[in-house]
Amino acid sequence: VVDQIRLWQIEGERMKATQGFLFKDFTTAQDFEDVARYAGELGVLKWKSVQKRCMFVTRHEQIAEWLKRRAAGGKR
């Protein structure tokens, strides 16, 4: 599925809207980095902030699966 991106032309100003999911409340910086890297590899990462420890992704299913698998496997 192609990201649903709409461009709004507003009085010469460009505004871009992308549907997706905001991931936040990561327990550790490492946890955040791991997920950000995975999201980047999947090509779904649109925006991230190390400082805020949150990121915006266009799809969440694979990340949710990955987090679940990791939690079940006890991998750190």
Partner: protein
Amino acid sequence: MPRAVKGVLVECDPSIKAIILKIDEDHHHAFIVEDLDEDHLVVKEAKLAELKERLEKILEKTQMMEKDDDSDPDQPG
């Protein structure tokens, strides 16, 4: 475990973002999910169309004020 919140990522000029913040404030924070940085924010998907409408109205008004008597052939008066 992190949390995932559904929404729409809006990338825009800081000046446009300032207007969006104002609209949100004036409507009991009905639009914004999270303010990310100076040119990014996440808004509620269901409120996106309404936000766009309100934003366009405000921008139109601002333009009219800037133009003032710079007459537009499409606009009588």
